[in-house]
């Protein structure tokens, strides 16, 4: 008997058919992947199973019986539990208090604390129930969320992109837990777009594209190319990665320390690195380890960097405004597209003016036709799907807006381009295009600094890697010499010469240590 079955489910939103006659069959104790690009309809499907959204057509069967899931409470009563991508935890409360808040109040807090300890032990989920949530790392917070779900003894656990916030080691740990859960009979719906993970973990895989199911496969028997063909209808183009010799130093950062602005921020301490012309330096790290603070300090949005800490072509720019840094050749693509990289309600033409002022005369007049022309060029050059230059930024899909914003900065012929999360929430096709453009820019002699939480991406395009952890920066290592394992270790702050952080870490290989000193000199 199937644990969960969706038959012919459809959901129509005002402008898009999010799910179109979708079927899903999940066995008891099965880890079932739901694979699809952003906007393929994964979230809508999960929301319907969890009772947050009601289907227009079709039926849901739970243990063979037709059910109507009216709301999340009912879903939980049936034994369906969901761990969201964005955690809903109160920072000032302890882990146990947070778990207790999310449950019906039949148990007392001390009882809960005991159960948490028990469940943590059973499934290898390290959670200290009495620690306040704000002192927990992201991985620990996720474990609190999972423990909260497990206390309801779910029959079906839904995990939405659970690994996007984890180090490779933490991912392996999570997988052990999930396999154990499945062995105990709990079904798991695993939403992801990371093919390797799905192939390593899942027994079965339903692929969605444009709201329709395009395949049901056993991921262990299909290779990545096969899965991505189902997901995007084509294989992503292979990138041309030419070896280019790095040129002169473009940006050098030294002794960059910036105190955090609020209690949940990260203090940057003594950051130092260099970026040379014609190379891509990748910054790896688990989210929330100072990436945002570093980006704000480099772009000039946070001008508190100490004097002399940021140099562009040897010139101190630490106190310059973002506009002035842009004039000197430093362009930046932020991770938030709407609201930071673009003004949501303004048109694409108006949004070019944010960073491109060629069409503004010396006396401050905007030459509308020139602005329009520039926007139209960007749209055609970077293959942006939009309703013309007058389309509001928020009317574009994430991938298309990202192409527009990245394109806007690339088209400015920067000398140094800093990109934060270049392909975050972007579909595979757009991601490939963006990475290709970044490589082209590098080949043309531009220096690039790319921050990404997707290690695969960094390994694919970066020439050198550095890791940021707890606001500190590791030495750099050529990508060719790096391994996922080593970078993963560094991501938890354990790198050679990391000082107090690195105490007790493995001894570095001599060759690497030399390379490190060389790169830092």
């Amino acid at each position: 008997m199937l644990r969960l079955e969706l038959i012919g489910i459809s959901k129509q939103y005002p402008s898009v058919r999010a799910n179109d006659n979708v079927n899903l069959r999940v066995l008891p104790g099965e880890i079932h992947a739901v694979l699809g690009e952003n906007g393929a309809g994964k979230s809508t499907m999960m929301k319907m199973i969890y009772g947050a959204v009601r289907p227009d057509e079709g039926e849901i069967r739970w243990n063979g019986e037709k059910v109507e899931i009216k709301n999340p409470q009912q879903a939980r009563a049936l034994g369906i539990s969901m761990v969201f991508q964005h955690f809903s935890l109160f920072d000032t409360l302890t882990a146990a208090e947070n778990v207790w808040l999310g449950l019906d109040k039949s148990m007392k807090l001390p009882e809960i604390t005991q159960r948490i300890t028990q469940v943590s032990k059973d499934y290898g989920l390290d959670v200290e129930p009495l620690r306040p949530v704000h002192s927990l790392s992201v991985g620990e917070r996720q474990r609190v969320e999972i423990v909260r779900s497990l206390l309801t003894s779910p029959k079906l656990l839904i995990l939405d992109e659970p690994t996007s916030v984890l180090t490779p080691q933490a991912v392996q740990k999570l997988f052990v837990t999930l396999r154990k859960l499945a062995a105990d009979g709990c079904s798991i719906l695993y939403i992801s777009h990371k093919l390797d993970e799905i192939r390593a973990l899942c027994h079965n895989c339903t692929v969605l594209r444009g709201g329709k199911v395009t395949g049901m496969v056993d991921p262990r028997t299909v290779d990545n190319a096969g899965l991505s063909r189902l997901m995007i209808g084509a294989e992503p183009p292979q990138l041309q990665h030419k070896q280019v010799k790095a040129g002169a130093v473009v940006m050098s950062v030294q002794g960059l320390s910036v105190p955090k602005l609020d209690q949940f921020g990260t203090t940057l301490s003594d950051i130092g690195f260099e970026v040379r012309a014609g190379e891509i330096v990748g910054v790896a790290g688990v989210s929330g380890n100072g990436q945002q603070e570093l980006m704000a300090a480099l772009s000039g949005e946070d001008p508190r960097g100490p004097q002399g800490s940021i140099k562009l072509f040897g010139k101190d720019i630490a106190s310059h405004s973002p506009r002035r840094r842009r004039k000197e050749g430093l362009h930046f693509v932020p991770e938030e597209r709407l609201g930071r990289g673009a003004v949501p309600v303004m048109s694409l033409a108006q949004n070019t003016l944010l960073t491109r002022t060629e069409a503004v005369s010396g006396s401050g007049w905007i030459r509308s036709t020139a602005v329009d022309l520039l926007a139209a060029n960007l749209i055609s050059r970077f293959n942006v799907k939009a309703g013309g230059t007058g389309a509001a930024a928020k009317s574009l899909s994430g991938g298309n807006l990202q192409k527009f914003i990245v394109g806007r900065e690339i088209d400015a012929n920067p000398k140094l381009l800093i990109v934060s999360q270049p392909t975050w929430g972007v579909d595979v096709g757009a991601a490939a295009l963006i990475r290709g453009e970044l490589l082209k820019l590098r080949d043309a002699g531009c220096a690039l600094l790319i921050v990404s939480e997707e290690l695969d991406e960094l390994f694919e395009i970066a020439d050198r890697l550095i890791v940021i952890a707890q606001g500190r920066m590791s030495p750099s290592i050529p990508t060719a010499e790096a391994t996922i394992e080593r970078i993963g270790e560094w991501m938890s702050g354990l790198w050679p010469q990391a000082g107090s952080l690195g105490a007790g870490s493995a001894a570095p290989a001599p060759a690497t240590a030399q390379g490190v000193r060389h790169a830092q000199a």
Binding site: R324, E336, V343, P344, M346, T355, G364, S368, S395
Partner: protein, 361 residues
Amino acid sequence: MLRLEARPQPSKLMSLLSPVLALVLTAILAALLFVALGKDPAKGLGIFFVEPLSNLRQFSEVLLKATPLITIALGLAVCYRSNVWNIGAEGQFLLGVLSGGGVALWLTTSGIVLPKIVAVPLVLAAGVLGGMAWASITAVLRDKFNASEILVSLMLVYVAQQLVNYMVFGPWKDPAGFNFPQTKNFDASTWLPNLLGGTRLHIGFLIALVLVGLTWVFMFRLFRGYQLQVGGLAPAAARYAGFSASTSLWTALLISGGLAGLAGGMEAIGSFKQITPHVSTGLGFTAIIVCFVGRLHPVGIIFAGLLLSMMIIGGELGQSRLGLPNALTGVFQGLLLVLLLACDTLIHYRVRVRSALAGAH
């Protein structure tokens, strides 16, 4: 069952229709109010919406009252689009009256008779500076101490009123005025030139129309205006682009303060021709409604200014003709703003009628 459903795109049509809808609803509620007061609703509505347009004299009064409303609202539109909530235009207006009127009074008492072409711009410039100075208090407190510009600008209105009182009860009191709290009448050489013979309408209305054009250019053609609006719509984007938040704050407050002050100067030498404690009639607050009914757009503000001016004139007529209470104008203005904000929901949502069956499905 009625329910609101989010529109995929905000409706442009609704954004224009919403003020009209709000006006119709206000008229309906007004009619009900007239019935409740025992007056003929048709006659009541006529007084407010027809009478002020019925002859040239009344119409010129509508234009006259609309002049300061439009002028102040233009500045407020710049402010609100920059996400700077200046609620104290009334205070900046009063400072415009004081400084503009002060110059006119000084010219009068010292017996200097300048040609109009010199005297009038001098007075108006003083008005602008007075309004700017008053707004800059708000700007400083906001910029340096992060004080709420809403509270500071509002509280400064009451300070400004006391300042007016002090001047007309004290140093500026007309010695020949039988101890009335008022200044001397300004010399005719400082008066704003008349626009239409036989009426009180002065060239201030033309100035307001020119300002509409200038504000439009500033908002939609100048990079500075663009920067302000980015700061208002998406502060993080403005920070990313490198537009200075404090420059925007100062620009917005100086423009709106300056325009409110200009309106004050024009009223001083256009309508009052002297300063009394009653120069404040809440125009600075009414202009906030004008600004929103006009959709923060310079052209919309012309129509909204005329409409609100009509309601003020109608209220005055209603008092004398029908014995309606003075407060009624304020009630209607308030109704119009609240209904407008309610109708604005329809820009982002549409009403869907759902059958009970579909609801149960």
